[in-house]
């Protein structure tokens, strides 16, 4: 944390990438921007393609993995985190920890009391919304009561 104090500014915080002529600014080389962009595009195509096959549950993980790779590219290069002060990296990664905490506990609990849930309760709001079955012109009965 120390290197964030105004007293001790050092450009090493910018990952040793020279550019001292630009002061503390650190322009990204164009080739890098473009290659990151095309990598992202490629990954998008891949994820769309893989969604054509039915992989069952694996599909979720496949898509999420690809998405995470893309997200990493965006954060590291476009958002410049690779050359940024470590504190900023800590900040954003820390937030992910708390997201994990939040989702983790809530989902774990929801899974825990799942068997107690009453489904398709015959409360008005959850009636099926198809009023009439054209073949037998009679109202389709509500979902069976528990």
């Amino acid at each position: 944390m120390a290197q964030t104090t105004t007293s001790e500014h050092n450009h090493d915080a910018h990952g040793g990438h020279g550019h001292h002529d630009h002061g503390f600014s650190h322009p990204m080389p164009i080739w890098m921007l473009l290659s990151v962009f095309f990598a992202l595009l490629f990954l998008t195509v891949v994820t769309v393609f893989q969604s054509q096959f039915d992989l069952g549950n694996a599909e979720i993980w496949a898509s999420l993995t690809i998405a995470t790779i893309k997200a990493a590219l965006v954060i590291l290069f476009f958002m410049h985190l690779l050359w940024d002060k470590p504190l900023n990296a800590i900040v954003i990664l820390g937030s992910l920890i708390f997201v994990a905490l939040f989702l983790g506990f809530t989902l774990m609990d929801a899974e825990g009391y799942r068997e107690n849930l009453i489904y398709n309760s015959t409360i008005e709001a959850s009636q099926p919304v198809v009023p009439v079955d054209p073949s037998t012109d009679a109202t389709v009965p509500a979902v069976a009561a528990p």
Binding site: D109, A110, Y113, Y119, I123, E124
Partner: protein
Amino acid sequence: MSVADRPITSPVRSEVDSYPEHHFLNHSKGFLSWALTLDHKRIGLMYLVGVMSSFALGGMFALMIRIHLWNFKDGWLSNQTYNQVFTLHGAIMVFLFIIPSIPAALGNFLLPVMLGTKDVAFPRLNLSSFYLWVTGLILFLTALSVTGLDTGWTFYTPYSIETQQGGAVLAATFGVFVLGFSSIFTGLNFIVTINTMRPPGMTWFRMPLFLWAIYATSIIQVLATPVLGITVLLLSAERLLGIGIFDPKLNGDPVTFQHFFWFYSHPAVYIMILPAMGIISELMSVHCHKGIFGYRMIAYSSIAIALFGFLVWGHHMFTSGMADVTTIVFSALTFTVSIPSAIKVFNWLGTMYQGTVSLNTPMLYALAFIFLFTIGGLTGLPLGALSTDMHFHDTYFVVAHFHYVMMGGTLVAFLGGVFHWWPKMTGRMFNDKLGIVSAIIVFVGFNLTFLPQFVLGSRGMPRRYATYLPEFQPLHQLSTIGSITLGSGLLLALIVLLMSLVNGKKAPRNPWGGATLEWMCSSPPPHDNFSSAPTVGDPYDFSNIEYDGRTGGYVKRT
């Protein structure tokens, strides 16, 4: 002992010569110079006025509740009105008073001065979060005036979806949303200021503990409040469109709402108490004229509390049908929080040891805090332990517990802080004798109000009851008497402060003998706090600070 012995605040002191010609109060004139100010000190004062008036409003509701409960039935309010009153009492106190009280009001005024900077990092953001707070206030007042909110401050679904007071619920949820962002931006501002704007020499471990507390608080504000934002946003979508995510009628899950809500609202408890602990650390050391005991332990425990605070929200839901494993995990984590709090209390006592305790108003409030907060903390044990909580949950025991922490803790510390820094903020000394009287009345009234409620709760009196069993009546009446005492004590405190503005002696630079930076600049401080970066020393080194009869305050021996 007679008050006059203590030279510090005695009214018969020689004329103060260090009163500044130009300071932030007379830096510029006119309404706009306040309404559009970017000066953190003025914003802090505007917050101070704001939170104090919303506290008055919430307190009024509290008295209405207590008076209604004088009789076990046929109180002077109808059930509906009673529900609306306790809802607004809770909502106003939590969202409009406690959460912004110390960080936004005192924090805004003190943080840059204690840190030795000219201002916070983002003055405009600072001003806009004040106006966000005002917007939230207005929305709450609309909720109050439209139909009256009757959901309880927790907005539990599905009641908040089904209640007839739809307009009020909408107004209030939007209000909470806006207030949430106000609080986020304050926290964000403080974190950045402390990280990037510390002057040379102000290392992390030369920061006053109040700043450590504020820093820890800000972390919580930034991390937790957004979840509240999305929760109330989804809730208002429930009301407007019926999206059903929290509505069992649409297979939505009300328990999930409680998870969402408490993921913010439990850490919020630490948003409320951490800055209070910070204030107490300052008050104890300054008024004992002795360095704080175990500086690093207190600093670390603040951060520890902030982080552990995120792991325990489930203890608000022990009976709500959480899965058993979650329940037990949360109970275990709950106890981890109690340790750092205990450490702080012991350290404050250690600070008094061999000190030079000046028993003036701020110090008495600080001592009251230690007494009340200890009770509040200890009564948390039976609530964290699962089997006993099954009995105490949602009873008056809980009510008494969190009032001991929130009010006996945060409010008392807030008052102590206001008295402590009042000379710095206004440049006026208050009447210390009357201040002491107010502190004592508040202390007595508080215990009279809330001690009986522990017994009520353990005997099974549920919360949020407009009518109750006759056998509970005596204790309720005792509590009501206490609440009136408490109210009058608070009123007296307010009068003392206001009187000082009229006929208070001009305050010296350093009336209490503090060693932190805010006492180095004049009272009230100049517009830019420090013309040049101040020399930073150990914030708790009192060895060379001596009383100076000519100024009626303390000076640093050079």
